[in-house]
């Protein structure tokens, strides 16, 4: 079997063994083991250079390499949190949860190595369906409602992406081209694609993959899904699925650029970006539920990602860097919020106060995560947001830069009130039997926070080169 297919097959094999394992205690450990196994595999593939297999349907280009390297690291951190979390929730069977988590991991890998528009679409569809059961972990009326919205809105987005894919195929047919939808071929022939069909396709694909990203106004599933999902699932949705969908958007942006229609695609992305940041910011103000607050923060950051991409060049570089920063930061926020939620048994700031006293480590991480996510130095998001801002100003788009800053400020104020309410104050008296912090519940978050801090202080030369080569790959300056 080829090395690339192994990336998909390995987690699937672990999923099957999770399905077959009968011990509730042992099963969750398969998740971190699967994640750990991927590290040497990916390193081996990465060192053998770019590759293409199966008529060019599978392959690793610079963008896919960046995505997979990031996802592997991110998923590893989240996976290490899983056994401790599932042990806290020992009252619920975890067979389906573990299996679906591993299937989801496999499908994210498939997404990363897809070089065909249709195959990539199948992968994003599979991630949606495999996360459905994860959202429904708590089996109560609220979680079924959230799952229902997530699946329905996600399916509509995916269906629109399918229509966009059809349109893209038709634009190639109309131009009388060899009807291959491998990205490399589409980009090579992009200039001769039928322009009206291509534009319609790009709009639909942006809406479709944008729904999976959670860009406003297609974000309405997000607060419910992130609010009701276990914190671990929230983390992998906010850091994993949305990053995959963003890479999908970037691939179609690349096709538009190659077709000489960059201006149109950029205007679309800019509109989505500013609107998402505004929606995220407005709904974060006076938000009383700290998990829903994180969902709106995710909407905002998806806006930042596409806004950076709409500037192009250094903005796109900053946006790719922000993809990593956002993912790691969301990991910190969601997992520490999960610890707080477990302890207090509530998501409302009306009853959650004084987390710093009750859970010193988790609440400190939550607070640091808040500073990171709102773009305070010296954390990573500050650097990437500053890169995007500088690119906007250097490009002469002062109005965009001002709006960007104003919205970031709005978010800082809105989010700050909620976060401070959670961590400060006196902890209500509790019976000592409540969930306490364990090492395994805190250590993965510390690692994630360390990554966020590291990316803010120092971007390694290899990473910088990888980011630039991905950015150049998208915009065709190869």
């Amino acid at each position: 079997m080829s090395a690339l297919l192994l990336l998909v097959a390995l987690p699937l094999a672990f999923a099957l063994s999770a399905l077959a394992t009968s011990s509730e205690r042992a099963r969750p450990w398969l998740i971190p083991i699967a994640a750990l196994c991927q590290v040497p595999l990916l390193a081996a593939i990465g060192s053998s250079g770019p590759s293409a297999e199966g008529n060019g349907w599978l392959g690793l280009d610079p963008l896919g390499t960046l995505l997979l390297a990031y996802l592997t690291l991110f998923f590893l951190c989240c996976a290490c949190y899983a056994p401790a979390y599932l042990r806290l929730r020992a009252e619920r069977p975890n067979r389906l949860f573990c299996t679906m988590m591993l299937v989801f991991f496999s499908m994210m890998n498939l997404f990363g190595i897809s070089q065909h528009v249709g195959l990539m679409w199948v992968a994003i569809e599979a991630t949606t369906l495999s996360t459905g059961p994860l959202l429904y972990f708590n089996h109560n009326p609220r979680s079924i409602e959230a799952t229902w919205k997530y699946l329905l809105i996600g399916s509509v987005g995916i269906a629109l992406a399918l229509l966009g894919t059809f349109f893209l195929g038709y634009s190639a047919l109309h131009a009388g081209l060899e009807s291959s939808l491998v990205f490399r071929d589409v980009i090579a022939h992009a200039a001769s694609l039928s322009r009206p069909w291509l534009r319609a396709a790009v709009v639909l694909l942006f809406i479709g993959y944008g729904t999976k990203m959670g860009l406003a106004p297609m974000h309405t599933w997000k607060p419910d899904a992130y609010g009701e999902a276990p914190g671990l699932v929230g983390a992998i949705l906010a850091g994993g699925v949305t990053s995959c969908a963003f890479v999908g958007v970037l691939r179609f942006y690349g096709i538009a650029v190659a077709a000489g229609d960059a201006g149109f695609a950029r205007e679309l992305l800019l509109a989505f970006g500013l609107f998402s940041m505004a929606v995220g910011g407005v709904f974060m103000v006076r938000q009383r539920d700290y998990k829903r607050m994180l969902a709106y923060s995710s909407v905002e950051h998806m806006g930042i990602l596409v806004l950076g991409a709409s500037i192009g060049g250094a903005g796109l570089f900053g946006s790719l860097l922000h993809m990593l920063n956002n993912g790691f930061t969301k990991g910190v926020m969601f997992l520490s919020a999960a610890n707080i939620h477990r302890h207090f048994g509530s998501r409302s700031i009306d009853s959650v106060q004084g987390a710093l006293r009750a859970l010193p480590a988790s609440a400190t991480l939550f607070l640091f995560g808040f500073f990171a996510v709102t773009g305070a130095p010296p954390f990573g998001p500050f650097l990437s947001e500053f890169t995007i801002l500088r690119a906007a100003v250097a490009d002469g788009r002062i109005a965009v830069g001002v709006a960007f800053l104003a919205l970031l400020l709005l978010v800082f104020i809105g989010m700050g009130a909620t976060v401070l309410a959670v961590v400060q104050g006196d902890a209500p008296e509790r019976e000592p039997a409540r969930a306490r912090e364990r090492f395994a519940q805190v250590a993965p978050i510390v690692v994630l926070l360390a990554l966020v801090l590291l990316l803010g202080l120092w971007v390694p030369a290899r990473l910088e080169a990888a980011l630039w080569s991905a950015a150049h790959f998208i915009e065709g300056a190869r």
Binding site: G118, V122, W148, K149, W197, A200, D224
Partner: protein
Amino acid sequence: VAEGLNLLLVIFLLLNFWMLGTSRLRAVIHCAGAQGLLLGAAYLLMHATSGPRAIALGVAVAAIKGVLIPRILIGALRGQPIRREAEPFISFTVSLLLGALATGLAVLFARTLPLIETDAGALLVPTSLATVLTGFIVLTTRRKALTQVVGYLTLENGIFIFGLTLIEAMPFLVEAGILLDVLVAVFVMGVVVEHIVAEFSSLGGDELTELRE
């Protein structure tokens, strides 16, 4: 062939309006199912000569979208006290008007998209877009989980009409779309609707209103 196709597409459009105007859940499901059958017929009509793969695709579309999924939905309806859509967010008259507006817009927009000359049936693209929009209207304005599913199916039917143009050149894409259908049928309808029924003990949608700002 072109005349036969146009006839099918006109019936398709009429079914859209019927779906928008009726309040009976059973009728709405049957509309979507009939569209599925028409879709299968159209696939066979246009591609019967292009080999076993295309024929198998047409039969599969008719079987899944025309028979299997409607049966699942009717089955979900059985044993439920509800037969009609409980007051939708907008009245049936307004949704009919919206449907007419959407169809008009679809025709206008389709004019801006150049067709390959050999593609018979000028109605193909407008019908496809109009059906997608109709599905969207049903999806967003009805309260019942079941009707929302039917809206989604209609939206998909519209997409598959457009798929007619691509079967020969890119069969993989259309087949992948069918896969989506099967999976959504199993996951969303089979599993989730059952859980909704269990949790709310009546076919939800209306009851799914706890989560909001």
